[in-house]
Amino acid sequence: MRSLAKRVLTISDDRSSFPVLSLAWRTDPQHEQETRRLLTQSFGHTDRLVPVWHQFSGDNGSVILTVAAEQQQLERWLRSMAHESSRLDSTLASGPTIALVGTFADAKNFLATATDLFPRNDSETAVLPSRMQQNMVQGYQQTLITGQDPSLKAGEAACFLALCLLSGGSSAMLPRTVSSLGNGATVQISRGLVQRRAAITWQGICRGSGGLQVFEMLAQALPAQLKAMNDAEVQQLKHFALANLSRAWRSPIELAQTANQYQIMDWGQSLISSPQSELDRVTREDLDHAMDQLLRPVLEVLGRS
């Protein structure tokens, strides 16, 4: 596996006769539909005989086009797609990240060409400030807290593990902790793009107006519960995380799509390409720090940071 400036990725895989190429554009959830429409148009103007298969996917602010094509024709098609999509307004979407999966002679040169064809047009942006929105619907209060995704700062693997601990599997910590409150509250955490920046969103719903109290309690309870976990439980968590990440390897298509999704969302493409070693490196301290960073937007809107 090689990578160039974190925008392109190639994974060697001999299961298909056709290399699978994935292009992922970063936009906002509110512009996702329009971006997908324009990119579908662009795709329609390329040589339709070249890809033997294609699919548009993506959500939470990303649009991903994945194609399978013969190696000899892939560069010509990519040039055509770059030309057609160059009219895409740079305020709508960034230049794409690229993932290539397959047996590909001279992948390095191909990816260098690809990098030149799709110039980066998203400048480094400031950290996403933490924000809260609340509303009442039929006696239920919804609280949305959004902030910067801490993956880059706290470590992609550590953040993924913390998210698995909170929301993954049947013994997920978040629903278990919230249900112990007994007030009918539900809380979820999700990741996506906000203003093209990697973000996390905490969404809480509760009866009455106790939304902030729910988050106050969580901000104390979750780090404490994490600290109380024994080593065997942490190993079990890593096993669960590894299974989830390894699933991308079921097929070359899934691998290209998922690796590129992790790349465009800043979740760490190496988590897909080398999940075992990435997870093995995470220490208890890393995990504690990741949990604290995931809770940071909550603490900031509560005025505790």
């Binding site: 299961r15 298909s16 006769s17 056709f18 339709r48 005989l49 070249v50 033997v52 298969w53 399978a68 013969e70 993954g168 599997g169 049947s170 013994s171 079990q236 096993h239 669960f240 995380a241 590894l242 299974a243 989830n244 390894s246 699933r247 390897w249 079921r250 097929s251 070359p252 298509i253 899934e254």
Partner: protein
Amino acid sequence: MNSTPLEAAQMRSMTLDQGARAIAIQNPSARNSTFVLAISSGMRHELPGEEGMLHLLEHLIYQDSAAITSSDREAELNSVGGVLGGHTHMDYTEFYETALPSDLSGMVARVIEQVFHPAFKPEQINEQIHAVCTERSQRLAPAPGEVLPFPHLTCQYWEDHAHGHDGTGDKSLFSRVSVERLQDLHAKHYRPEHAVLVTFGPQEPSEMLEILAEEMGSVSIAKSMPKATASHHMEARQNSAKNQIVHDPGLPGRRLLAATSAADARTINEAFLGDLIVASLLSMQTGLDSSVGIFGPADLTENDLFILVDDTGLDLEPILRLRALASVDDTILQSAAKRALFTVEKSVHDDERLARTTARDMLLRGSPSFAHELVSRLRLLSEQTTRLRKLLLGSTQRLATQPWHTLDVTPTLQEDA
């Protein structure tokens, strides 16, 4: 352990004590393992009065079993980050799990126990009849006029019960199903000698086969149960009604669903290869979608349908579209062949699907490497333009002379033809 190396280098198989066939596929670089248990009974095996019951049985396999509740089983799989699936096809039913290779034994034990020892609790039967109905309506809802090739076109095409009934399941199951009836149906169809077990993973094949033998050894099945009769071996009869119109004033445009008999897919033959190329060529045209097989290529060995879905709104008979294919140029023909290759290749380059396809082909064809061989044949063909054209002409001529059944889903009121 006596096992036999199969044609594909990393595959080994054996027959287990109770008669089940076991196959192990090794890919040393695989990151996941998959276990598939497939039973040689599907919707075609339902007798009159049993419509939808094999689909319901598949759902009930995921409910409580003799050893474990469904929620505990789900928690067990979730805790290791595994995923599962189950599908009822026309000629077989499959159950599978995928997780890390170190969890293979757990997957095998779990699936075997739930498949052979379901508890059939009355409240769960009722819940699952609702679930089957919901699944049916959710599948149909996005389709124009809520009409799809399966089940609407198949039910129109065939007159005999085995081929022509709708096996998806509806509310009439409430009045037809009882615990005893389901137990009888399960005892008849879910027997080890009707099962194929496939494991895929990085482990040594012999190691995987040992796991299968050990876990299947724990299954206790009454030996006196009658063997299931293959109802679909009755002669398939086509319906005399050839065309139907479904009116739905809210539709934005007309959709024509058309079907004719697909080539026999028991073996890789010229007609079958030709049909794959024709379907691929038709699908390359804007507004058209075509497939060999109601559930995809090779999912049935016989009496399958060649399907054309036409959203162009043009009043063009399928036969005319087929005849027009004779004049496609070589570049387009080669491109269609490569698309057909990729379509088939998806069933083997995806590890989980490879395991499922192997189970299917062992059950339906007695040949676990059928899909691999089909990929090899199409790969060779995609470079042979003269042969491709010969196959194309052969299939278009055959398909064009066969009777077609159409279902016209239209927003306007028209006089029936």
